[in-house]
Symmetry: C2
Subunit: 202 residues, 2 copies
């Protein structure tokens, strides 16, 4: 395998399992059996590794979102499917979410990028809400401010369910994803019309 790709793969493994602050470029090189010099030939600065991994995550997530947007009409099932895929992706790059503030301090470019991203996503969520209301899945009797609060909730839950898992359950892999996708389902439930709630209970 390409050394550069291998560095990214090994770094992801180590960051995920031991945290972004305990793992240094030397650890990554040692685990791969290459010299520190070699590693720094491919990534002059260690932070570039983190930045690259973040970019991979962002790119993968963009694919998920554009897939979602291509489906019309949006059903509750497509939404649930999207949620599960998002959780899986987040789990793959979990060190980013587990150390999000740390990383955004260390690599300011990530912070800027993330900020721009949330601005875009916010609009996309509102568009999806609008569709789901039209289709009789989401309630239409809630004040607008409630939907705004929901978007922030989605962001916080989406970014930090992994941290919650780390601090409490420590569920691994598919167990974690299963548990938290149920939390996400539950989170939307009170926003559904009675008809949609009934369909969900089946």
């Amino acid at each position: 395998m390409d050394t550069r790709t291998n560095i990214l793969k090994t770094a992801l493994e180590l960051y995920n399992s031991q945290g972004v602050n305990t793992i240094t470029s030397r650890h990554i090189a040692a685990k791969m059996g290459i010299s520190p010099g070699n590693l720094h030939y491919h990534f002059r600065q260690t932070d570039e590794i983190i930045k690259t991994l973040y970019e991979h995550l962002a790119a993968d997530f963009d694919v998920l979102v554009s897939e979602l947007e291509s489906i019309h009409p949006v059903s509750l099932d497509t939404l649930r499917d999207f949620a599960v895929r998002s959780l899986e992706l987040a789990y793959k790059y979990r060190f980013i979410f587990l150390h999000f503030v740390e990383i955004s301090l260390r690599v300011p470019a990530i912070r800027k990028d993330y900020y721009a991203l949330t601005q875009r996503r916010e609009k996309e969520f509102f568009a999806i809400f609008r569709q789901l209301k039209k289709e009789g899945i989401f309630r239409t009797d809630l004040p607008e401010s409630i939907w705004e609060a929901l978007v922030t909730q989605i962001f916080i839950m989406g970014d930090f369910w992994l941290s919650n898992n780390e601090l409490t359950g420590r569920l691994k892999g598919s167990n974690a994803i299963k548990h938290y996708s149920e939390i996400f389902s539950g989170m939307f439930y009170p926003y559904l019309t009675p008809a949609a709630q009934a369909r969900m209970a089946e």
Copy 2:
């Protein structure tokens, strides 16, 4: 002022403003104008400073909870008041929430303590939910699993609203608290009975 207390005060300031990983015991000593030797006379290990600050937070929060539990019957206003006080307290010790996973890795005792705490809190929340249902404030037509999901939501939101603020809005002090207490209100809204919703809209 007591040197020990002063160390804690200065450490809190620096951790809050610059993060727990960038600030070292030397930074704290320098800011206070004392020697590193002196600082380590009072706290043999730097982590003890973090642990002590966490204990202060936990103790302060315990006071809030026991105050809440002493009030009968629980109204929507007491709940909102409790939420605002909680947010204020979290803001005071914000570095802990901004670096929760980091810290729990660095100081395993904190992790254990937090885990035990959430177990307790979970029960307390269910008890409060039961009361609020009895009083006609919370809906009684939602399945039990939805309330379980809500508790996890409350934990995640409560622990990570500060991280969300750090990554996006960067609101300061009372502005942050105001904004996120509205998010919290919005979060509970769909769980309220129509009567309670109407009263809230006033």
